[in-house]
Symmetry: C2
Subunit: 382 residues, 2 copies
């Protein structure tokens, strides 16, 4: 095992109805005025907004609204939030929504304490050394953002999709309420499944030091995601399965599965970020296209681990069979596996490949993923 530090002080409040604890948590942190970030107006129609605003009022907390945060969140919206936070002198940020809202909220929390252009923090031109305290109520389980410090935001002007994150941008408290997640559409459920699986397999396959304990934990989570996705497709009201799915999403991206691993990278994310930056496809849908393609290209570089994946996730005996089983499973649950299903054509590849070079550079893997390699990978998805 490689040496590591594990430190994750975010408090998870898991359970349907736990959204009613948020005001007390915010008040006990000493905050009196929050910027309440959310996405669509759906939370107003469905009553969650009223629940939360009432709970804040009950705890003596004022709020300023920032609605309209979109999937693949954009820096312009973050800038709007930073301005509001500064103008109204809020002393905490509350995110009510999925990973996109939460990532935006993290960026706003950091930007509110930064004198300058908030994109500097993403571009490595400014230091993230302080942020407003951040609280979250999660309505979609996928990104794991609720228990880690990372935020991924797209700059619409430069078409870059970059990330920030350190101890300052960890949520203080995250509420995971399975009942609130029950309204997720079937499409977003399966995209989320693909997203969680991608978080689990990047390190699992690419690490040069991958202790067996960590592989076993990953397989436990992979099997959970596969089983509960199927259960939820059959019965979206199954709250136990919804809960297990959500907890697997959190554990997939909270640092646990990285402990003791080394030499890993995130090539699937580096490639997918260009699909969503250029074509605005859902992140999970992009990932379910990229993963099988990347696996076919990569498998011979780590055959024992691909054999292990086939055996412990699908009960099969060869690397190729394991990859085929995952691809088939994606097709069965209805998440895309081909670029054309994302309305991306072979003629678009050069532009994608060029954009991916920005990401692989940011991810520190440019030498392993030159344009011709990225083309070769993506050709598996044509």
């Amino acid at each position: 095992m490689k040496e590591f530090t594990f430190y994750n002080p975010t408090r998870i409040e898991f359970g349907s109805g736990k959204e009613n604890t948020i005001g007390a948590h915010i008040a006990s942190a000493g905050a009196r005025k929050v910027l309440l970030c959310y996405g669509s107006e759906r939370i107003k129609r469905e009553g969650l907004f009223d629940t939360v605003s009432q709970n804040l009022a009950d705890n003596g907390i004022e709020y300023i609204e920032l609605g309209g945060i979109v999937s693949n969140p954009v820096i312009s919206k973050v800038r709007e939030g930073v301005e509001l936070a500064k103008q109204h002198n809020v002393d905490a940020i509350l995110s009510v929504g999925g990973g996109s809202v939460l990532d935006s909220a993290k960026a706003i929390a950091a930007g509110a304490h930064y004198n300058g252009n908030v994109w500097d923090l993403f571009a490595g031109k400014g230091e993230l050394s302080s942020a407003l305290p951040l609280f979250a109520i999660l309505t979609l389980a996928a990104t794991g953002s609720e228990m880690n410090p990372y935020a991924v935001v797209t700059n619409e002007e430069t078409h870059e999709k970059l990330s920030i994150g350190n101890d300052y941008t960890r949520p203080v408290v995250s509420v995971l309420s399975p009942a609130l997640m029950a309204g997720v559409s079937r499409d977003y459920l399966v995209y989320s499944a693909a997203d969680i699986i991608s978080h689990l397999i990047e390190v699992y396959f690419t690490a040069t030091v991958q202790p067996a304990i960590q592989s076993r934990l990953v397989e436990a989570l992979l099997n959970t995601v596969i089983e509960t996705t199927q259960t939820l497709i059959a019965n979206p009201e199954d709250e136990a399965a919804r809960g297990e799915f959500a907890w697997a999403a959190t554990l997939a991206q909270n640092g646990l599965i990285l402990s003791g691993c080394a030499g890993f990278s995130y090539p699937n994310h580096a490639i997918e970020h260009s699909l969503s930056a250029l074509f605005n496809v859902p992140h999970g849908a992009g990932l379910s296209v990229v993963m099988p393609a990347w696996m076919k290209w990569y498998k011979n570089r780590n055959t024992p681990q691909f054999d292990r994946f086939a055996k412990y996730v699908f009960g099969l005996s060869s690397a190729d069979d394991g990859i085929a089983a995952l691809e088939k499973w994606f097709e069965e649950i209805g998440t895309p596996t081909r670029l054309e299903q994302l309305n991306i054509r072979e003629a678009d590849l050069p532009a994608i490949v060029e954009n991916v070079q920005i990401n692989v550079k940011a991810f520190g893997i440019a030498s392993d993923y030159p344009p011709e390699v990225v083309t070769e990978i993506l050709m598996h998805a044509v």
Copy 2:
């Protein structure tokens, strides 16, 4: 899944040599004088004491020594530590040793902030509402105490073995250095394996709500403990296996495997505590005797989970085969499975059974474990 709160802010510094970070961590918490708790003089002979005291000095931290803490730690020693801590006005506690030293250190940290008899906190006659900050360097992986708030201490006068623990007694930083654990004897390695396995199976078998995700995580850790114990018996110098064993011990008892579970209890611990309180047997050795006996008695109350255990831990197809495989494995690695191996005779049973009644009451399971049931369980180990 049952609702839950997951909150674990302890920072784990994992890696050989990480003991050299402890002074910096203590200093950055603002402490200038610590009570340095340890067990035998072995840490002086082997150089760890010099390493730690030098590291403290380098960071401007004074220390007062409290050595001689024994396995199955006792309240008299805790009282000695509390007096020293108060007398010298220390502002933090540093534990250098295994679970017994760390549990004592937790009790001292709590006792130093309590006006009265520290045993009151264990006996439920006093409130644990403050404690000195606590730091740990672990030299034996077993109890999981390094990443949870719990301390188990024996009162030699009353023969009670009771526990305390809340957010105040969580270590701020725990160092897990596989190299420091390499000196553990073969006996203590296998007792530790039994201890970790007991932490994993109590909830796994007894919970009335046991989500599949949690069962899978437990199985991942059980398989790791079994595999790495065998590796370490064959080659005690295998640092990777030592590291995985230690990390499994931590994850077995840091709250992770409890998340979403409900209706569980700790009958094996309730019974074993009487063996170690009355006969001073090593906790793990007592547990490897109690577990197969308890499993034989309990199996029909949760057959599907025992079938699952047989299948996913030993690759076998029946509950009975799984229990037999665990018992055989304990015998193979050399940890006892019969009371006589602990020098306990059938004639001792009445006294044990009487003492267990104190524990099952403290554990809240007295109605399920009346004297005749405890006798029946222990008769499986005669």
